[in-house]
Amino acid sequence: MTTTFDAVRHQVMWNRLLSVVEEQAQTLVRTAFSTSAREAGDISAGVFDLTGRMLAQAVTGTPGHVNSMALSVAHFIKRFPLETMREGDVFITNDPWKGTGHLNDFTVVSPAFRGGRLVALFASTSHVVDVGGLGQGPDARQVYQEGLFVPLMPFAEAGRVNEWFLEMVRANVREPRMVVGDLYALAACNDTGSERLLAMMEEYGLDDLAGLADFIVDSSRRAMCDAIGALPQGSWTHSMTIDGFDHEVELVARLTVGDGVIDIDFDGTSGLSDFGINCPLCYTIAYTSFGVKCIVAPELPNNAGALEAIRVTAPENCILNPPHPCAVYARSNIGHMLPDVVFGCLHQAVPHRVPAEGCSALWTLRLGAGQGITARAGSQSTPFQIMSFHSGGAGARPGLDGLSATPFPSGVRNVPVEATEAITPLVFWKKELRADSGGPGRMRGGLGQTIEVENREGAPFGIYATFERTVHAARGRGGGAPGALGRLSLASGRTLRNKGFQVIPQGERLVVEMPGGGGLGDPATRDPAAVERDVRRGLVSAEAARRDYGFGPGSSRTAPRR
C-alpha cells in the first residue's frame, strides 16, 4: 500500500511533459508560414531523453511524423555525439531518409541544459513552403530534382546562427523569407519546450530525467503489451492495389501478433517508381504504426515505450523502402494508404473493430500559374502557387457511416475558398458533396466532394496532380461495396491524368470529383430509415437507393430541388 506521494508526482510530471510538448507545438503552428504547417498542422514536436528515447510527442501534429521524428533524433545523436553538444547548439536536416520522408520537411534538434548539464533533447519538424527544385508535384525522377538537400548540420553553434547556411537556403528556394522564417520558428519552439521543461525540473527539484523517463517508458510499454495481449496471436496477410504513377502499385503486408509485439513486413510490395511517389522507410513506419495504434491502443500516448512494440520492415528497393536518390516528394500518396493495408490484416484478427477502405490519400489541389509554367514572359495574367488540402470520403466504420469529405489517416484541415480566392485569380464554382459516391453498405462509406475551379482572368493555369483511387476504388468490407472512383477532368469533357503536371487551357473549368469511402456490411441490411434520410438529403439518389439498397419506390421521397 503506497502511503507516500511519489507515485502521484511521476504521473503529474508525465502530464506536464505532455503539456510542455503541446506548448512547443502550438508555438510552431502560430509562427509558421507554410500552409501545410499552419493550416494543416503538418508539424510535430517532442522531447527525448539522452538515450534518444522519445518521452512525449505533441498531439497537435501529423501521423506522418509518428516515430519518424523519433528515429531522426537517433541519427542526430550518432552524428553529433552528446559529449560534443554545447548550450545554444541547434541541429538541422531535411534528409528524406533521416528525417520525415521528403525535402520539404525540416527537422530541428536542440539540446536542453540545466546548470550546464545536458538533460534532454527537443525535436520539431515542419513542412516549409518551398525547397527549390521542381516545386510541387511528383514529376521528378531523382531527389536531386526535388530541391535543396540539407544533410545533418548545425543551424546554430553555441548560440550563433550559421549565417552561411541560411545564405545557401535563401539562394535555393522560391520564398526565401518564409522558409528562413520557418526554420527560425522550429528553433524557437524548441527553446519554448526547453524553458518549460527546466521550469518543471526546478519545481520538482529534478537534476535529470532518468527516473521519470523510465517510469514513462515502462508504463507505456506495459500498457501496450496488455493491449497487444488482448489480440489473438497469429499472422495475417493482406494486399491492396492502388493506381501508382508509371505503374500500378501492389501494397502487401504480413502482420504478426506475437508476445507483446506486432511485426509488419511489406515483403511482396511493388518495386520503385520512376517518379516522386516513393515512400522512404521512415514514413512507411510512421503511417504503419499509426494504423496499428488506431485499432490496438488509440488512447496510449506516442512515446518510445508504446511505439517500440510495433516493428515495421520493408525489403530494400520496394516502393516502401526506396534508396537514395529516388524521388520522394509525394511520398504521402503511398504512405496514406498504409493504414488501410494494416486494417485489412487486423480485420482478419479482430473482425468487428476495423473500418472499410477510404479515399485515404489526400486530394490536395496544387495549382499554379506563371511565367515558364503556363504563360510566356511578359504575360499580364497573375502568377500564383497554392496548395489547398481537400479530402474524399472515409471508410464506413463499425456502427457508423464513413465521414464525408474528411481526411484519414492524415489530420489536415482545408483552406477556406474565400481565403484562396482572395490571394489568387481563381474562382471556385462548386464545392459540394458528391451524391452516390459513398460505398453502399449496412454502414455507408463517406461521400467524396466535387470541386469546380476556373481562372477568372481567363488565363490558363496548371495542376500538379497527385491523386489516387481513380482506377482502383476504396473497397468495402464484410459485404460492403466500394466507394465511387475519383476523376479529374475538364468541364468540356476531357479526362486528365491522375498524376503529374497538366495545363488547364484558357477559359476551361477544372472538375475534380473526389472518391468515396467503402461500405461496411451488406447494403440490404441497412436501416431503411437511414436510406430514406440519405435520399431526402440528396446524398444517395433515388435510383441508387433502389439499385444498391433495394429501397422501394413506394417509400422513397423526392429530395427538394436544388
Binding site: 506521494f5 502530464n15 506495459r222 474528411t406 484519414f408 483552406v415 481565403a419 480566392e421
Partner: protein
C-alpha cells in the same frame, strides 16, 4: 427557494445608479442580485425552462423583498443568460433553412474537413444546425474583390421560399460568398424572403458576421437564425413581465464580450448573448483585480462540471473574435460550432467538483471530463451517485466540512467518499485513501494548470507575476495549489462567489463591437479606404451604443487583424485613429514581437479584418483602502488537512468566513469555511482579509 446575504458592508455601489439588479439565468438556477445603498442582496431560484421570465420575476421579487426595496425604485436591470447556449447544445432552436451561393450548400457540413481527434476512428463532427434538405443554392456570384461574376437569380429565391413555406421553416439564414465585400445580393435576397415569408426570421451573413472565411461566417449566421425566434421572444416577454411588476426601468443584456447592449440589438443578434454567464464572471474578476490593483490577473472559475480560465491584463479580460459553442467531445477544440463574435477569451476544460476519477490503461489516475453533475452528484452527497469525484477527494483530504456543506442543508457522507475513491483509484493502484484522494486532486489541478499554460502560450502572454482570482463553488478549494503550479504567489477569493456572474453584470460596460473584412496590403495602402471603413463601423456601433448610453462620453478602440503575407493566422493589432501605413506596420511589428519574441524583417504585412469597439467610458471600481491590522479570533475548530505540495496531512485551523473582518491576518495551514465553499490556505501562504471582504492569500517566499 434559497436566500442569502452577501457580506459586503464596506463596498458601496460602484456606479452612479442608485439601485440596480443583475440577473443570471443559468441552466439550473436563476441568480438575482440587487445592489443598493444598503449593500447587496441576492436570491437563487430554480430556472423555469419553459418560460424563464417566470423564474426571473420570482427571483427579483424575492431579492426586492429581502432588500426592502420597491420595484419602482429600481433604475436598471442587467440580464445575462445561457439560454442561447443551451438552445444550441440541446438543439432546441427554430426550424431553420440556409440560402447560399449555388455550389456551396455543404460548406457548413464539411466544416474544416478535419478530424479534431486523430486517433479516434469513431469521431463524429457535430450535425449542422440546418439539415441538407433545407440548404439551398442560388445562382449568383461575386469575386473576392467584389466584382460581379454572375447576377442574382431572383426567381430561384422565390421558388426556394415556396419550398421553405411548405416545410414550415421559421428562420432563414442567407450567406453568399464574399458578401463581406458587397452585401447587395444578400440584401436583395433578404427583401424577397421577407416578402414571401413575412412570418419568418431572416438573418444576413453580411450583417451578423461580415468576415472572410465562408464556413465560420455561415456557421455564425445560421446559429443566429436558429436561436433568434426563441431569444427574441423571451426577451420581449421578459420586458413586458418586468413592466407589469412595476419595473419600468431600462433592461440591458450582457453579451459574450462582457459588455451590455439594448433589447433591440439583443433581439437582432442574439448569437452575441452566447456564454454571457461566464462572461459576467470574468467582469467580476476584472473588478476584483481593479479594486486590488492587480494589473495582471488570471480568473479561475471552477464549478461542478467545468473550470474556466481567463487572462486579465490592465483590468481588461482578454477578448477574442472567435468562439466555439457546444463542444460535444471532451471540450476538444474543433468539436463544436464556430462563432465569429466578440467574446471574452476563456479556456474551458472538463474539471469540476463533479468530475469523475478512474484509473486508465496506463495505470494512471485520470479525472473528467465526464461529470456526476449536481444530481445525483458525487458519492458523498448520498443521493445515489456511485462515481468517485473530485468533491469526494476534497472531502477525504479535509478541505470540506461535511456538516456545513451548502449552508448545512446537506450532510456529506465521508464513508461513501472513501468507499468510491478506494474502489476506483486506491485499490487498483495500491494506495491509501488519502494518497489516492490527493492523487485525484493533483491530477485535476495539473490538468487545469496545463490548460492555463497552453492558453497563455497561445495568447503570447506569460503567467508569471499574475494574481489568481478564484470564484465558483470548487475554485477556492483548489486555487492555492493551482497557483503553486503556475508560479503565481497571490490568490484572491472575492465574497459572494456563488452568484459571481450576476454581480459581474452590475458593472458590465455599455459597449458594442463591429467587424468587417477587407483585404489590405500595407505596401499598397489606401488610407482613405481604411478610414472610410472605420467611419462606417463607427456609425453602426454608435447607433447601438447610444440606445443604452445616450449621453455618456464614448471611447473607441480600433483593431486590425493582420499577418505577414503567407501566414494563416492574423494577430490583433490596436490601431491609431488615422490610417497610416507606416504606423500600422510599426504597431504590427510591436504586437508580433510581444507575441512571438521577434519580427521578420522585410516581409510584407497585410490586414484581413478590421474591428471597432465603442463604449461608454468604462468605470472601474476604485482601489480599496488599506485596512488596519486586526486580530483574528480563535479558530472555530481544528482538523487534519492533506497538503498535496508536501504529500502529507497537517493540522489546520478552521475559521468561519462570517467571523473574519477586514484587516485580519492568518497563517496557513488554515481552512476558511462558508456556506457554499471553503478556501484552503496551505502552509506557506498568509491570509489577509481585504476591505471588500475578499480573502487574499500570499505565498511567502522562503528566505
Amino acid at each position: 427557494m434559497m436566500y442569502q446575504d452577501i457580506e459586503n458592508k464596506q463596498e458601496k455601489s460602484i456606479t452612479g445608479a442608485p439601485i440596480r439588479i443583475g440577473v443570471d439565468v443559468g441552466g439550473t438556477f436563476t441568480d438575482v442580485v440587487i445592489e443598493h445603498t444598503g449593500g447587496r442582496h441576492s436570491a437563487k431560484v430554480p430556472t423555469t425552462a419553459d418560460a424563464p421570465e417566470t423564474g426571473v420575476i420570482e427571483g427579483i421579487g424575492a431579492a426586492l423583498e429581502r432588500a426592502d426595496v420597491v420595484p419602482e425604485a429600481v433604475s436598471l436591470v442587467i440580464h445575462g443568460t445561457t439560454l442561447a447556449t443551451n438552445a444550441l447544445i440541446e438543439r432546441k432552436g427554430a426550424k431553420t433553412a440556409l440560402l447560399t451561393t449555388e455550389g456551396f450548400r455543404d460548406s457548413i457540413e464539411m466544416a474544416y474537413e478535419h478530424r479534431f481527434e486523430q486517433y479516434d476512428l469513431y469521431m463524429e463532427r457535430p450535425e449542422p444546425l440546418v439539415p441538407r434538405e433545407r440548404r439551398l443554392g442560388v445562382p449568383e456570384r461575386l469575386a473576392a474583390d467584389g466584382s460581379l461574376l454572375m447576377p442574382l437569380d431572383e426567381a430561384a429565391i422565390t421558388a426556394h421560399a415556396a419550398f421553405f413555406r411548405q416545410e414550415g421553416v421559421e428562420a432563414v439564414a442567407v450567406g453568399f460568398l464574399h458578401s463581406y465585400v458587397d452585401a447587395s445580393h444578400e440584401r436583395r435576397a433578404g427583401a424577397i424572403l421577407k416578402r414571401e415569408l413575412p412570418e419568418a426570421t431572416i438573418c444576413l451573413s453580411s450583417e451578423v458576421s461580415p468576415e472572410i472565411r465562408e464556413y465560420d461566417r455561415l456557421s455564425t449566421t445560421v446559429a443566429n437564425a436558429y436561436v433568434r425566434p426563441l431569444i427574441a421572444g423571451y426577451v420581449g416577454r421578459l420586458e413586458a413581465a418586468l413592466r407589469e411588476c412595476g419595473l419600468a426601468c431600462p433592461l440591458l443584456l450582457t453579451m459574450s464580450s462582457g459588455a451590455v447592449t439594448t433589447v433591440e440589438t439583443a433581439q437582432r443578434f442574439p448569437i452575441r448573448l452566447v456564454e454571457s454567464g461566464p462572461a459576467g464572471g470574468a467582469v467580476l474578476a476584472r473588478n476584483v483585480a481593479a479594486a486590488h490593483g492587480l494589473d495582471k490577473a488570471l480568473s479561475f472559475d471552477m464549478g461542478g462540471t467545468t473550470a474556466k480560465i481567463c487572462l486579465i491584463d490592465d483590468y481588461r479580460p482578454q477578448l477574442s473574435r472567435t468562439f466555439e459553442v457546444a463542444r460535444q467531445y471532451r471540450f476538444l477544440k474543433g468539436s463544436g460550432l464556430p462563432l465569429r463574435i466578440p467574446a471574452i477569451e476563456m479556456v474551458e476544460i472538463g474539471a469540476g467538483g463533479g468530475s469523475m476519477a478512474r484509473v486508465d490503461a496506463l495505470q494512471r489516475i485520470a479525472v473528467g471530463p465526464d461529470s456526476a453533475g449536481a444530481n445525483p452528484g458525487p458519492a458523498c452527497y448520498g443521493r445515489g451517485g456511485g462515481a468517485a469525484t473530485v468533491t469526494d477527494a476534497d472531502l477525504i483530504l479535509g478541505r470540506i466540512d461535511p456538516v456545513r456543506f451548502a449552508g448545512g442543508t446537506m450532510v456529506l457522507d465521508g464513508e461513501a467518499a472513501r468507499d468510491v475513491i478506494r474502489r476506483d483509484v486506491g485499490a487498483p493502484l495500491g494506495m491509501t485513501d488519502e494518497v489516492a484522494a490527493a492523487g485525484v486532486s493533483e491530477i485535476v489541478d495539473e490538468a487545469m494548470a496545463n490548460a492555463a499554460r497552453v492558453h497563455a502560450i497561445e495568447s503570447g502572454k506569460p503567467l508569471a507575476g499574475r494574481a489568481l482570482i478564484a470564484f465558483g463553488g470548487a475554485a477556492p478549494l483548489h486555487a492555492a495549489r493551482l497557483a503553486g503550479k503556475l508560479g503565481i504567489d497571490r490568490v484572491v477569493v472575492p465574497p459572494g462567489a456563488g452568484v459571481g456572474s450576476a454581480i459581474g453584470f452590475l458593472s458590465a460596460p455599455i459597449a458594442y463591437e463591429v467587424v468587417q473584412s477587407r483585404f489590405v496590403a500595407l505596401d499598397n495602402f489606401a488610407p482613405v479606404l481604411v478610414d472610410t471603413l472605420f467611419d462606417e463601423m463607427r456609425a453602426e456601433a454608435e447607433a447601438v451604443v447610444r440606445l443604452g448610453a445616450p449621453k455618456s462620453q464614448l471611447e473607441e478602440t480600433r483593431t486590425g487583424y493582420m499577418r505577414y503575407r503567407g501566414q494563416g493566422h492574423e494577430i490583433a493589432v490596436e490601431l491609431p485613429e488615422c490610417a497610416d501605413a507606416e504606423e500600422y506596420r510599426r504597431r504590427f511589428d510591436d504586437a508580433y514581437r510581444r507575441l512571438y519574441g521577434r519580427t521578420i524583417p522585410a516581409l510584407e504585412v497585410e490586414g484581413m479584418s478590421w474591428s471597432l469597439a465603442l463604449g461608454a467610458v468604462d468605470q472601474l471600481p476604485a482601489r480599496l483602502p488599506a485596512t488596519p491590522p486586526a486580530d483574528a479570533g480563535l479558530p472555530s475548530a481544528r482538523r487534519m488537512l492533506y497538503d498535496t505540495e508536501v504529500g502529507g496531512s497537517v493540522e489546520a485551523a478552521v475559521h468561519a468566513r462570517a467571523d473574519l473582518a477586514p484587516g485580519m491576518r492568518l497563517v496557513g495551514p488554515v481552512v476558511v469555511v462558508e456556506d457554499e465553499t471553503a478556501t484552503v490556505v496551505p502552509a506557506g501562504f498568509d491570509l489577509t482579509v481585504a476591505a471588500s471582504g475578499a480573502l487574499v492569500l500570499t505565498w511567502k517566499t522562503p528566505d
